[in-house]
Amino acid sequence: MRKNYILAYSAVLFTLSSCLDTEPETAIDADNVIADQKSAEVALVGAYSGAQSFAGVSVVAFNSAADNVVASTSTLNVIPHLQAAGSSAFDPTSGGGYNTYYSAINLINSIIDGVNSLNDGAFTGSNKSRILGEAHFLRALAYFDLARTYGRVPIVLHPSTSGHSADGITQSSREEVYAQVLADLTEAESLFDNSLSSPARASIWSAYALHARLALYTEDWQSAATYASKVIESGLFSLTTTPDGFFSNKLSSEAILELVFSTSDRNPFFTYYLSAAEGGRLDYVPNPEFVQILNEPSVAGLRSQFVKVNSNGIYVIREYDRQDGSSSIFLLRLAEQYLIRAEARAHLGDLDGAVEDLNVIRRRAAVEEISTSGLSVDAFLLALETERRVELAFEGHRYSDVIRTGRAAEVFGAYNENYKDSRYWVFPLPNNVILADPDLTQNPGY
């Protein structure tokens, strides 16, 4: 009898010890996650979610580093970012978003390696190459923004399985990173077909448009003009009637690639750019000097619509003002392609073509067209710089435009002495990033 009790009791204990194996309910084990087309597709959706994160950081960081946007919480004005390295000032960018990029890159690398390791038979139709195309494109986008933020960054092309997976990978030069971007874009272009299902997802057209932008940064003027032309002449995109059309409506006719958000997948931008009364925190406002430019009809024309006076009499940015968080991030749009081609053509000696491209944008903004007569290339490039500043006001272009054209000492130096030293024409790597990675060295001067 007593023996039976002991047996029964042991049985109970044995049963209980099996309770020590518990399974997570909101996550899955990392081994072989990408096993078929369906899992590859959901991972790819995750990669777009990653792109939402890094593109968000990139726009905010570049905007706040340049002279179009200033922090509203102090009388301290332009370019607080570089001064603020290590200070307690509010900085949603975590120093430029380094880790945000690599978290997306690791996911993209998992997709590329995972999909490549699967048989073609696991996919229907051309889905395998489309998935790979989108993945390569997103990786190109991430490395492109990393290179223009920090200059030199490590290139990691395979997924991490431990904290030491990428040990020994040091920073590549900006040129090498741009070469990797080009390689990924070229790969993407070869994988995509010519269709455009929705500008909310990457297509061959996004690859061409980013290719044109990359060529501008690498001063490959011929490629810049060629790839911009492919997009402009595709007939798939058209300028909206007014300059604010690209953000007044979601996925406008001008959108080549637009990261969309919704009320359940919210873009936090409205909290940065709207006042408390509208549910935001108003971390950033347009630079008062830039507001004067936007309000100058001969320069900005209809683009004064990009800002508005809020109920407290303060100028705020309109572009991301959907209070429900559904404002998009405008990664690639047609107006920029015109401006890219204008700049490339000017450098290639085709001033007429350049002026025509510029005037396409000016016409829409109801600003007087410029004429070629007596116009030097340098004067044109200055006019183009202002045009880009105004047209692409809050999309994060201004900082790298002024840096890449070598004008930062002159333009930003007026606000911050540091910019007179070209070593400061890249962001510093965030301190915690350097401490975490013995393979990294800080950018010179910091």
Partner: protein, 1012 residues
Amino acid sequence: MKNGLLYWLATATALFISATASAQGTVSGKVLDAATQQPVIGAVVSVQGSAKGTVADIDGNFSLTVSDKFPFDLRVSYIGYEDEELTVYEPSEGVEIYLSEQKNAMDEIVVVGYAQAVKSSLTSAISQLKPESLKAVASATLGNKLQGAVPGLLISSSSGVPGTSQAIRLRGATSISAANTPIYIIDGTIVNTDVLQSVDIGGQGADPLADINPDDIEKITVLKDASATAAYGAKGANGVILIETKRGATGEPTRLNVKSEWGWSRTSDLWDLVSGPEHATVVNQAWLNDGGSYETRPFRPVSEAAPGYPAYGNPEDQPTYDRISDVFRTAFQHSYNISLSGGSDKTNFFIGGEYTKQEATLKLQDFERFGFRLNLDHQVAKKVKIGTSNIVSFTDRSLVRTGDGPSGFFQAALHTPTFYPVFKEDGSYNKPVAFDNHQAMLDHYDAKAKGLRLNNSVYLKLDLAKGLTFKSSLGNDHSTYHELFYYDSFLISGQPNGSATDATTTKNIFSAEQLFNFLHTFGEKHTTSAFLGTAFHKNRSESVNVNGKGYPSDQLRRITSSATQTGSTSGSTSAVLSFFGGINYSFDNRYSIDFTARADGSSRVGKNKRWGFFPALGGSWNISNESFFSKNDVISNLRLKTSIGLSGNDNIGDFASLSLWSGGRNYNGQAGIAPSRLGNPDLTWETTRQWNIGVQFNLIKERLDVELNYYDKYTTDLLLAETVPGKTGFSSVTTNSGEVSNKGLEFILQSQNVKSRRFSWNSTLSLSHNKNVVEKLPVDVTGGYQMFKLFEGKPLYSMWVYEYLGVDPQTGDAIYRDVNQDGKITVDDKVVVGDAWPNVEGSLRNVLSFGNLSLDFTFYFKQGNEIFNYTRMFLESGGTRGVTRSMQSSTLNYWKNPGDTGVLPRPKSKANADGSFNYEGQSSRVVEDASFLRLRNVTLAYALPRRAVHRLHADKASLYFTVSNVFLVSKYSGPDPEVNLEGESPNGLVQGMDFGTPPQPRTALIGLNITF
């Protein structure tokens, strides 16, 4: 029997008649020692509830003539004897009163957790608290009542809001990223101590222990050293707090106890803000010092406004609005406790009910609790006993976000510049800066949380043989916290068309324990006790969180009426299986030795490290029982004790060891997944090695009771998020890599200063000191705020800032210590200037009784701790925050002319030549000494005289008056040096930060306690 309710029902009338019929008379007799039958010379014989009394003569005889009406109670007492009480119904002679010698407290059999032992053989460091010591504090929650009562138990209030969680640290903090809270065991059941709240309300958490009615508590035992905590194995590293609730006594008549309290609280000495014109002047000065032009200065005639350069009017025209006094109130609190207890010879019971409501002095916050308790024990057969303990408790909170964040209520009132009107000209709420409008919040805020707590256990106890028992118990602790937040469109959180959150979080802890206990004395001198047991615990947590946006009307506030809905849910399970045992052997009441061990298997730990073993060894020596120790009147009961052992901390997250991908990474309406964690299959629990050495003795005929303990804790395998290179796509992997030490001293002195017939005075002085050091830190760990960072060799909660040296009298700019002397002020120049740990924490409690009156007051103090005064950092900003934040008056004392000293830097937000900022936020300028001495509470109680009590047909009645936080002595510049932003966040690295937390109020409370 004479006092019982039944008796009262049956004999009230008779008693009345007899009481009125009696005349005065004499009572005489003899006081004898119960054991020796010898007279007790000098025994005090007194009439209860009056000043009348006498002293027994050399033969033990006494005679007392009283005018009191019969019947009355006599109390007979003498040092070294138990008090004896008896009721005298008529004049009588030859009454013999036997006093029995006070039992040496050391010979009691005590039950500590699983173990039972003769008290004199205990080797461990424990503290026991009786409910009397909890009574004096005017609070509805246990945490407040424990504060300062136990040496080594440091409880930091987070704010003056009732029902808010607190940081509780026993003998320091052993962990960096796992929890530091001790485990709580109520009537043998482990209870949840996790904050179940899911809506962030700015540094406030809902205290999970606020569900417990402190009035139900009979005894609290705090287990501190390894010998005591090893039996709790992987849960014991942060200490164990055992709570026993009240039970009925077998064979006692039924008693009815009614207790009511009413109290009022006020918060005073708040911030002194600048006037509108002062604000404007400072901002204009900052603008000019920054190189801004006079023409574009912010405060200039409105007519001069230009795009991007708003004009706010001339400084002298600025109005001043007071918002702070709008948000505070005189808060009311009241509570009612009613309980019935008693028992027959086989069954005893305790039934209690409670209602408590406590308003916070900060408007919009209330705490309300309905509690019910049933404890029952029944002797089924001679050797079989069963019993049950049950709590049902409902809490109801009104909430408002207070601290951090733009939608903070308290922030809105404190930080909105005073020159802004509350309303716009059109009558709408003015929200000129990042904060919400405090009046809009007062008018429209609607946030509630309802908690349900069910704590139930049953046990079966068998007497197997002499000294051998078996106890099987099952327990379940269930908590649910349901939050309902609705923000209408008048609030910034409700933009644009209303927004609501409905969240329910549930946590359930099931435990099953089987325990054998053995206690036996062999011959005269050998006493052995032992226990052996097994336990199984299963934790289950669930959460459902739904949000709605876009509401058609403020009448429709539930999620179902919203235009768009989002939601998330989660669930998680963990389980622990344990085997434990212990043996104590004591020889001749002189030497004793203890061995305890526990083996735990946990689902949370990596598969490779699933089982852990936690042993402890302890010993004690009763020196005063040695033959060489001659009995004397100076020192007695001298004991030495020591212990060493291991305990663990398994609060490491349920799945910390696995590599995972998670969902929710959605895009464009499609579901996506992404890697969420890098795994570590070798992950194990944190282990604390602790040794303790203590000495206990009594002085001057046991008038002083002294205990001193020294401990040394060293925790290894601390869970740390070891940073991995960012290029891997992960920021960290959880590893066991940190080490932390805590060393400290605890001292408690209980003193019977005066014990006479009419007057007694007892004091308890408790002091503790803990030195916390991060011993090994292979990774960089920074708290949520950049001012809190860990360094090897420095304690947790260190404040890491630029060291402010003052103002250059010539330029008016701030000077910071250039630590690396490179001519620039950079991150490398930040240093640790202080930490949140006090050097000494302590309390001094005095209880004075004079006849029917008693006075109980407690001083509480901390010395040597620092606070990072983030609130002052914002308020003392020298105009550098422009028109976005208010300023406090002290900011006006800035540098104006060369040669000015003892002033703040000149208002300027641009960088100085060395890269520093005059109003740098992370500056030692706002790190303040937060030492304080506080008269925490004073209670004056009056026990109604027996006659009056009898007239009420009651047995006992008392009336008391308590004032809490009577006064405060502190150099701290804010209103309350005890505020603490983080409260209890499990992996909080931030303690000692004052940021938008309402101060603790002063409370006056009146109470009535009647037993029938």
